[in-house]
Symmetry: C2
Subunit: 369 residues, 2 copies
């Protein structure tokens, strides 16, 4: 088996595991930084390896439009193209088609849309998403799905039906998980019965992993956590469970507690480009005048290059002077912060102390909120 999920230890609903892939092992729970256009913004891949990143996500929608998946395939696939040695996950393109592009037409067959780059007309179908993702060659690929507003029941019902039909077509187009593992995506908004129906149907298709889609897209945090309370356990426990698009430190903790294994989010790099950094006491904007003369590192006990090397005063200067280096240095720290958070949670699961870790972490992280 090219792919297999090894459950190492449970602690309540939380799990420590290893997802074995052709490009190496992914210890779970894991956070994947996002490399939208075949690059994690402002971070060279060797620095990403140093940060301990074992999985990177890249976006099918973006790469399909530019430079095109055929080109990436000709250049040896995404690993070779972006020189990333570890596992890669690509999304299906669905989320960006629905959130970023201008939709021209959506029907049961697929979606016609206009590129956000140049307005050119394109059409995505489940089959095309599979073909594009096969060209890209990521280790984990995703079914083409429809992600609705999570609290509009009629919309969610329709999206669940359509996502299900599309999942079957993706499974047929990509029946062999030897080179690439195809994950199914559960939808259902905040509605437990719809999540259950979606999961049941997906399980019939026997995917090597399952994602939870349609969360962190407009509902409140309590609503997301409440939905996770039930919807994670609806998924098979011998397969990895992936919560798409979630990366806030408190959300990661809440979702790991509830049994999620894999996460991705643009948050650490996007915040960095706005001068914001994760700290144990919460998120802070380093451009604040409080840091003008602060000679301390961002975080005393962080082992990233930024914290090992630079003062807050210098980082503040870079942010205020709009220097490119700020993006790189703050991204390094934010990514490392999340990876260390995941590493600590994995250790706590192995030590049976996860609840204590999460409680201490959240008490401190949310104190200012």
């Amino acid at each position: 088996m090219a792919f297999s999920f090894e459950l190492v230890k449970s602690c309540g609903d939380a799990r420590a595991g290893v997802f074995h892939t052709p490009h190496g092992d992914i210890p779970t729970p894991v956070f994947a930084p996002v490399g939208t256009q075949a690059t994690v913004k402002a971070v060279p891949p060797r620095d990403l390896v140093e940060l301990g990143a074992s999985l990177v996500l890249s976006n099918t929608y973006h790469l399909h439009l530019r430079p095109g998946s055929e080109l990436v395939r000709e250049m040896g696939g995404l690993h070779e193209f972006m020189r990333w040695p570890n596992p890669i996950l690509t999304d299906s393109g669905g989320f960006q088609v629905f959130s970023l592009a201008k939709i021209s037409r959506i029907d049961d067959e697929g979606v016609t849309f206009q590129s956000h780059i140049d307005g050119s007309r394109h059409r995505f179908t489940p089959e095309l998403s599979m073909a594009v993702q096969e060209n890209l060659g990521a280790d984990i690929i995703m079914c083409f799905d429809q992600c609705p507003q999570p609290k509009d029941r009629a919309m969610v019902e329709a999206a669940v039906r359509r996502t299900q039909a599309w999942a079957a077509r993706c499974r047929e187009a990509h029946a062999d998980d030897h080179r690439q593992a195809l994950f199914g995506i559960q939808q259902g908004g905040i509605y437990e019965d719809l999540r259950a129906a979606s999961s049941e149907a997906l399980k019939q298709l026997d995917f090597p992993g399952y994602a939870i889609g349609g969360l962190a897209v407009g509902e409140s945090k309590p609503e997301m956590y409440q939905t996770l309370d039930s919807c994670v356990q609806l998924l098979p426990d011998n397969k990895p469970r992936y919560l798409m698009g979630v990366g806030a430190p408190d959300d990661l903790a809440q979702a790991v507690l509830r049994g999620v294994d894999i996460f991705d989010c643009v948050l650490p790099t996007r915040l960095a480009r706005h001068g914001a950094v994760f700290m144990p006491d919460g998120q802070v904007n380093i451009g604040r005048s409080a840091f003008i003369r602060d000679e301390r590192p961002l975080q005393e006990d962080c082992d990233c290059y930024t914290c090992r090397t630079f003062s807050r005063a210098y980082l503040r200067h870079l942010v205020k002077a709009r220097e490119l280096l700020a993006h790189t240095l703050l991204s390094l720290h934010n990514i490392r912060f999340l990876i260390r958070h995941m590493e600590a949670m994995r250790r706590a699961i192995l030590d049976n102390t996860l609840e204590h870790y999460v409680q201490s972490f959240l008490e401190r992280y949310l104190q200012a909120a």
Copy 2:
């Protein structure tokens, strides 16, 4: 002596040397990348060390306005602030005051100007430039000078007179070269007699190094080379000679041939931000469609991280997708290209083969021009 210039070998007018400084030795001829605002744009200092950079220039005008030299001094000086372990050179602020700011008044005492950032009113004098540069704490600091249009004789004459008077005031304000070496700046435009007068007067002040100012600011390349033919040899041969603001690969070769030891320029990083790279066959824009499927590195025999790791096709993609990583990766290569060029010229001087190297280099580099 904290500073001393050791002449290792001459080859025609060209020289291989070592400039000893409190932050380490600078083998000459040397090219210094520019870190305008206490950062070489998009390049972390550890990467700059890896590229073999032995000297970095930073701009007094910019740092005076933001974050302020007092702050930098409080943070331990520029080396500590930007975490750059090797020697630093600061310019005097004069060039930016005259080129970037809005001049309100210029008189023999100094210059009143408005900040290009927020329009706030400031005044630079030779004494203030010295105080600011002492706060910054670079190893090599520069006299406050006036850089005129090089071909307006009346303007150049006035600028030479004023620069001379200001040099004497800088020398008086900074008499002790123990911690920081103050370099004088020769002016004179393209006029040999004015260059000679400027040099003679400067030599009376006995500086530990001398710069050639007022070139590469509008005159043609042949005019610059012709001026260098005479003006370099007007400077003492037992002190380092620094040609300010020059960094095009062909200009570096022509100036080293004529006996210049130190250079700085924003060119490698500025070009990188526009997608342009130095190649042995000349400067190329990597965004060109010719590179869409080019799996080769930028330069086969280059040892920089970019060339060791990425294909032209990937770099082109980053440029076209306007990704931040392009700035970093192309800057790494362009800086390394110039440093390797300087290293090769130094070896050629030691081997007595400089003329051959320069001829071969220029033949190839300028072939497309």
